[in-house]
């Protein structure tokens, strides 16, 4: 399999707390990687570094073999890296289509003076396109609905639709099912599995029972360090849980 993204020696501290220490791993094309670990393992920090929210203190990021600098979320999006977060995937007070196109609005530019222009939202076009994106994932909600009136599952559908605007190649999912019902969780899982035909995903969750059947490989973090990087065929679900809870790996799991 061809390598899509590689992080090398990533270190990140917040004050005196070391969130990540010398973490290296790769994501390959068309695979689903489970990024697992107990609370405070550094999973969310690694996701935020790959998605451009934080810059690492040390370490390098390669995308399709090229060294890249992800200084902002927009930088990551331009490469094709999209992220869905548990609590911060949507702005509740905005409409569905405003959320889908947030920071990537379709606009009409009206010039004011020389070189100065105002960007007006093309709301009609964004509503039409949003409807198509929502239809594509089988969700029947109005693009003009206010997001705070939607259920948890519908909100995540809006977040998933967001990721389909750009040229997505890598989907990062940070606890995307944490606040969803069983039915809504199943829909998200099916979406991740379906997406594998076209893209790669990194799936972060506290629930190993949920992620085990879905993922091809597991990267286990503990207290900011990489404990194991193991393919699914080389580990059982129980062994994975033990690995997460004890933070100790054997030789096979260290591959």
């Amino acid at each position: 399999m061809k390598e899509l993204l590689r992080v090398e020696g990533i270190t990140k501290s917040f004050g005196k707390i070391v969130a990540l220490s010398n973490v290296s791993t790769s994501i390959y094309n068309n695979e689903i990687v489970g990024l697992v670990g107990d609370n405070g393992a550094g999973k969310s920090t690694l996701i935020k570094i790959i998605s451009g929210v934080y810059g690492p203190d040390k370490g390098k990021i390669y995308y399709k073999g090229k060294l890249v600098q992800l200084k902002s979320v927009q930088d990551a999006m331009r490469l094709g890296i999209e992220t869905i977060y548990q609590d911060h995937s949507v702005v509740p007070s905005l409409t569905v289509s405003q959320n889908i196109y947030l920071a990537r609005e379709i606009y009409r530019k009206i010039p004011l003076f020389k070189g100065i222009s105002i960007k007006f939202n093309d709301t009609k076009k964004m509503n039409e396109e949003s409807k198509l994106l929502l239809d594509a994932i089988g969700i029947n909600i109005s693009p003009t609905s206010i997001v705070e009136d939607l259920s948890g599952g519908e909100r995540q559908s809006v977040a998933f639709s967001r990721t389909r605007i750009g040229r997505i190649e890598l989907l990062l999912l940070d606890e995307p099912t944490a606040s969803l019902s069983i039915g809504e969780t199943e829909r998200v899982i099916n979406y991740i599995i379906e997406s594998k035909k076209e893209i790669s995903s990194v799936f972060v969750t506290h629930n190993p029972y949920l992620m085990f059947p879905v993922c091809d490989r597991f990267v286990v973090l503990g207290k900011g360090r990489k404990i194991a990087d193991v393919k699914k065929e080389n580990i059982t679900q129980q062994e994975l849980i033990k690995l997460i809870t004890t933070g100790k790996a054997n030789n096979t799991q260290q591959q």
């Binding site: 979320v73 007070s93 007006f120």
Partner: protein, 315 residues
Amino acid sequence: MRKINNQLLFSLIRRYPFIFALIIIAVFVGLVEPLYVSPGNIKTILIQSAIIIVLAVAVTIPMIGGEIDLSTVSVAAMSAMIAAQLLRHTGLGFFLVVIIVLLAGLIFGSFNGILVKKRIPALLVTLGTMGVARGLTWAIGARRAVPISDSTFINLFSSGKLFGIDMIFIWTLLVVVVGYIILHKTIFGTHIRAAGGEETSAMFAGVNTRTVKFSALLFSGVVASFAGILLAARVAAGSPTVLVGRELEAIIAPIIGGVSLKGGRGNILCPVIGAIVLSMIANAVVILGFGPDIQLMAQGILVVFAVAIGLRGGK
């Protein structure tokens, strides 16, 4: 049919409680003192509202963006004083005077914006600039009021008429329209509501929330200084004591109208409704023969109600 109408009425009351407050005040005070709803008095109320509407629009943009600007009233007073001094002591045409005054607002707005961008709480930053602007008003006026005798300036920004409408209304309407376009039609407006509604989500989506807040405070400073121009023309002077004690009215008006103090929610009608309600109360107090004690208490109670309704409805 009647049930549907009742439902519609209740939903309208829930959504715009202070439009109904406005109607109730008008009916109640109008019954006690018919003079209150006479065309002449309604015009007085609207003229009294105009400058507060402009200041409240200035406050609304950063407020929806999740930041508060306490300095607008003082910046307006300072701007009025700058305009008065320039018109009195320099041969500058009023167009140049307006540009200089707007630049002063721009400087204050950028100063507020830069510090807020550096994550210093807007409440503290703008409390400071509120004091600085008021101090500058005293200093620029050499501690006394400076009269304006330029009738072109006064006519253009206050008492002149266009199609039979006072210029102060035309300018106020223009500011409201500009505010509407910015908040409801532009990408910047969407980003303001996103930054105020859920800053982390907006940031994760790729909105540069710090720059958005900076720009919102910049806008606020410029509009506040424009309110100062209207104020100077309205009272035909720059005064160090103008609007002293009324600093919070510009903040209260959008809250009364329905803007969430927590950010993210509200529209451009909110500051307009809020400012008119405040002026109606102030005017009713005078018409009914009460003193400023009753006015302040009535306005205070209204703010508590507005915030309570806003918090309960999440809006």
